[in-house]
Amino acid sequence: MIKMEYYLIVSTLMFFIGIYGFVVRKNMLAILISLELVLNAVEINFAVFNRYLFPGSMEGMFFTLFGIAITAAETAIAIAIIINVYRNIGSINVRKINKMKG
C-alpha cells in the first residue's frame, strides 16, 4: 500500500503550485485554473485522510464529492464572468479590470 505521505506530498505540491499560479498569473483563466489546483489539492487531502485515518466512515469522501460539485458550479460562473469581462473590455488581464475602483 502506498504510504499516506506520498499523497500528501502530491497534494501539497499541487496546493502551492496553485497558490503560486494564483498570485503571479495575470490571466484570469490561468488564475481560475490555479484556483482549481488549490481546491483539488484540498479534496485529495480530504479523501486521503478519510481513507487512512477513519476507514470506517465516509464523511471525507462525501465532502470531496460536494467540493467537486461546488468547484464545477464555481467554474461555470467564473467562466461566464470572464467571458463577459472579455466582451466588455476586450481583455482578461486582471490588471486591466479596474474600472470600478474609486
Binding site: 497558490i19 494564483f22 498570485v23 486582471v94
Partner: protein, 638 residues
C-alpha cells in the same frame, strides 16, 4: 393719583398708533394727534404737580414718596425683582412738568418746522416714544426700571438723530451717540449689579432710606484698589450718568447729535435726555453722599473741568447748533458740580436744590435757544454763522426771544438763569474755592459765547441773501412755542425752589448772597456780554486777529481739542485693527485652521495607506500565505 399712569400711557399709545398706522395717515393728522396726546399728558402732569406739591404731597413738613401704582415685571431672586411703577416725589414730579412742557412745545413747533418732510409720521412716532421713555425714566421706582427706560431713551435718541437716514453724517452721528452711551451704560449696568448684590435690592426707596443706611452697612469694609466697593459701584453708576449727560470724556457724541432735526436737539439733547445723568445722581444722592463721598468729590471735579472745557470750545465753534451743544454740556456740568458740592440737610443741601433748580430753568431757556436756532436755520437754510447777520430786521420775534434766552443763560437778573446759577455758585463757594472761581469764570465765558452767537446771527453785517429766499419770520406754529418758552425763561427763576425740592425733602429758606456771589457773577457776565458786543455787534475784524494771535490753542479749540480724533483712533485702530482683525485672523487661521488641519491630516494619512487596499486579490493572497507561513514558522520553532 392713579391717573398719573395716563401720563405714561398716552405717549406709548401714540407711539404704537403712529408707528403702526402712521404711514396711512395724512401728515397733519399724524402731527395733530401727536400734539394733542402730548397736550393731554402735559395737562395731566400739571394736575399731578399741583396735587402733589400743594395738596397731598407734604405731611409733617416732609414731601413723601408716593407710589400710586406698581406691578412686578420680572423676578430674578426672592429679593431682586424688577417692578414697573410710578414713583412721585418732588424731583420726579418736577421732571414730569419739564418733560411734558418742553415736549409739547417741540411737538407744536415741529408741526411748522418739519412741515412737508418725508417721514413726518415716523418723526412724531419717535417723539412719542421718546416722551414715553423719558417719563418712564423719571418716575422709575427702582434702579432697574430706570435702566430699562434709560436704554429706551437711548434708542429713541438714536432713531431721531438718524432721522435723515440717507445722510451718511446723520447715520454716523446716531451710531456714535448710541455706542458711546451704550459704553457708559455698561458701567451703569455693572454698577447696578454690584450695588444690588451687596444691598439685595433695586428699590430706590430702600436704597435711600435713613440716609442710605442699607448701602452704608452692607458694603462696609470691602475695598478694591484702594476704593471701597460702594464707591466703585456708585462711580460706575455715575459713568452711566456721565455718558447720557455728556460729561468729559464721554461728551463726544453730543455735538455730533446735532445732525438730527433741530426740534429733536431741543427736546432730547438740550432739555430732557441729557439731564438724565444729573437726575440719576440726584435720585441716588443719599447713597452717594453717605456711602461714597469720594465719588461725589470726583463728580464735582469732573463737572468743573467739563464746564470749563466745553465753554472754551463753545467760544470758537461756528456752527450755531454746535455752540449750543457745547453750551449744553457746560450747563449740565454746572448741575453736576452743584450736586458734587452739596451736603444733605437744611442749608447744606443748597447744592442739590440749586442743581435741580438749574435743571428746571435750563430746560426752558435751552429749549428756547435751540428752537430759536431752528427758526433761524429754517429761514437761511444753513447752520453756519457766516451765512447769517442782521437777521433781527427779518425775524424780530425769533430775535427777541433768543435775546431773552441769552440773558437767562448768561445769568442776568431777573431772568431765570440768574437765580439758579447764583445758588450753584453759592454752594460751590462754601465747599471749595477753586471750583467756585472756575465756575465763575465759566459764567463769564457763557455770557461771552452766547452773545457772540446772538450778535453774529441777529446783528453784525448784512449778508447777501438770495432774493428768492429772503429770510422771513417763521410761521405762528413756530413762534408761539418760542414766545411761551420765553415767558417761562423769564419767570421760572422766581419760583421758590427751596420750598419744594431739597435733598432731605424739608423746606429751607435760601437767600441770595449779593455781596459774595451775586454781584461778582453779574459783573463777570456783563463783562462777557460787553466783550462780545465790542467784538461782534458791528462785525469787526478783531476776532480774526485774536484768533490768529492765539495760534495753536485756537486751532485746538476749533477742533474740540482733537478728542474726536482720539476716540476715532480708539475705535478704528484699537477695536477694529488691534482686537477684531486679529481675532478674525486667529479664528480663520488658527482655530479653523486647526480644524481644517485635522481634516487634512486625516486625508493625508488615509491617502498614504490606501495603497494597501488595492483591490488586487492576488496581493491579498500573497500577504495571507506569507503571513500564515511566518506564523506557522513561529509556532513551530518557538
Amino acid at each position: 393719583m392713579e391717573y398719573s399712569l395716563l401720563i405714561l400711557v398716552t405717549p406709548f399709545v401714540l407711539f404704537l398708533l403712529l408707528g403702526l398706522t402712521g404711514h396711512k395717515m395724512k401728515h397733519h393728522v399724524a402731527g395733530f394727534i401727536g400734539t394733542l396726546g402730548m397736550g393731554l399728558a402735559a395737562v395731566l402732569s400739571y394736575v399731578v404737580a399741583f396735587q402733589y406739591f400743594f395738596v397731598i404731597g407734604k405731611t409733617g413738613g416732609i414731601f413723601k414718596e408716593l407710589i400710586p401704582m406698581s406691578f412686578e415685571w420680572l423676578r430674578f431672586t426672592d429679593k431682586l425683582h424688577i417692578e414697573l411703577g410710578i414713583l412721585l416725589d418732588p424731583i420726579s414730579v418736577m421732571m414730569l412738568v419739564v418733560i411734558t412742557t418742553v415736549s409739547l412745545m417741540v411737538h407744536l413747533y415741529s408741526l411748522g418746522y418739519m412741515h412737508g418732510e418725508k417721514g413726518f409720521q415716523r418723526y412724531y412716532a419717535f417723539l412719542s416714544l421718546f416722551s414715553f421713555s423719558m417719563l418712564g425714566l423719571v418716575v422709575a421706582t427702582n434702579i432697574f426700571q430706570m435702566y430699562i427706560f434709560w436704554e429706551l431713551v437711548g434708542v429713541s435718541s438714536y432713531s431721531l438723530i438718524g432721522f435723515y437716514y440717507q445722510k451718511p453724517s446723520a447715520v454716523a452721528a446716531s451710531k456714535k451717540a448710541f455706542i458711546v452711551t451704550r459704553f457708559a451704560d455698561l458701567g451703569f449696568l455693572v454698577g447696578i449689579l454690584i450695588l444690588s448684590f451687596y444691598t439685595g435690592t433695586f428699590d430706590f426707596g430702600a436704597l435711600t432710606a435713613n440716609n442710605a443706611e442699607l448701602a452704608v452697612t452692607s458694603m462696609q469694609g470691602l475695598s478694591f484698589m484702594g476704593l471701597s466697593i460702594g464707591a466703585w459701584a456708585m462711580a460706575l453708576i455715575f459713568m452711566g450718568g456721565a455718558g447720557k449727560s455728556a460729561m468729559f470724556p464721554l461728551h463726544i457724541w453730543l455735538p455730533d447729535a446735532m445732525e438730527g432735526p433741530t426740534p429733536v436737539s431741543a427736546l432730547i439733547h438740550a432739555a430732557t435726555m441729557v439731564v438724565a445723568g444729573v437726575f440719576l445722581v440726584a435720585r441716588l444722592f443719599p447713597v452717594y453722599l453717605f456711602a461714597a463721598p469720594e465719588v461725589l468729590t470726583l463728580i464735582a471735579y469732573i463737572g468743573t473741568f467739563t464746564a470749563l472745557f466745553a465753554a472754551i470750545i463753545a467760544v470758537t465753534q461756528t456752527d450755531i447748533k454746535r455752540v449750543l451743544a457745547f453750551s449744553t454740556i457746560s450747563q449740565i456740568a454746572y448741575m453736576m458740580v452743584s450736586l458734587g458740592v452739596s451736603g444733605y440737610g437744611g442749608h447744606d443741601g443748597v447744592g442739590y436744590m440749586a442743581s435741580m433748580f438749574h435743571l428746571f430753568t435750563h430746560a426752558f431757556f435751552k429749549a428756547l435757544l435751540f428752537l430759536g436756532a431752528g427758526s433761524v436755520i429754517h429761514a437761511v437754510h444753513s447752520n453756519e454763522m457766516k451765512d447769517m447777520g442782521r437777521l433781527h430786521k427779518y425775524m424780530p420775534v425769533s430775535s427777541i426771544t433768543f435775546f431773552i434766552a441769552c440773558l437767562a443763560i448768561a445769568g442776568i437778573p431777573p431772568f431765570s438763569g440768574f437765580f439758579s446759577k447764583d445758588e450753584i455758585l453759592a454752594a460751590a463757594l462754601h465747599h471749595d474755592k477753586l471750583i467756585f472761581f472756575v465756575m465763575l469764570f465759566v459764567a463769564g465765558l457763557t455770557a461771552f459765547y452766547m452773545f457772540r452767537l446772538y450778535f453774529n446771527i441777529f446783528w453784525g453785517k448784512e449778508k447777501e441773501y438770495d432774493n428768492h429766499h429772503k429770510p422771513h419770520e417763521s410761521p405762528a406754529l413756530m413762534t408761539v412755542p418760542l414766545i411761551i418758552l420765553a415767558i417761562f425763561s423769564v419767570f421760572t427763576g422766581l419760583i421758590p425752589f427751596p420750598e419744594f425740592i431739597t435733598a432731605d425733602r424739608m423746606s429751607f429758606a435760601a437767600h441770595i448772597e449779593w455781596g459774595t456771589v451775586a454781584i461778582p457773577s453779574i459783573v463777570v457776565a456783563l463783562t462777557g456780554i460787553v466783550i462780545a458786543f465790542v467784538l461782534y455787534a458791528k462785525g469787526s475784524e478783531k476776532p480774526a486777529q485774536i484768533a490768529k494771535s492765539l495760534g495753536g490753542f485756537y486751532a485746538a479749540t476749533v477742533n474740540k481739542f482733537y478728542l474726536d480724533e482720539v476716540w476715532m483712533f480708539i475705535t478704528k485702530s484699537v477695536i477694529f485693527k488691534l482686537i477684531s482683525e486679529p481675532i478674525k485672523w486667529f479664528d480663520r487661521h488658527v482655530i479653523d485652521g486647526a480644524m481644517n488641519g485635522l481634516a487634512w491630516t486625516t486625508q493625508k494619512v488615509s491617502d498614504s495607506i490606501k495603497g494597501l487596499q488595492s483591490g488586487q486579490v492576488q496581493l491579498y493572497v500573497w500577504a495571507y500565505v506569507v503571513g500564515s507561513l511566518v506564523i506557522a514558522a513561529l509556532v513551530l520553532f518557538f
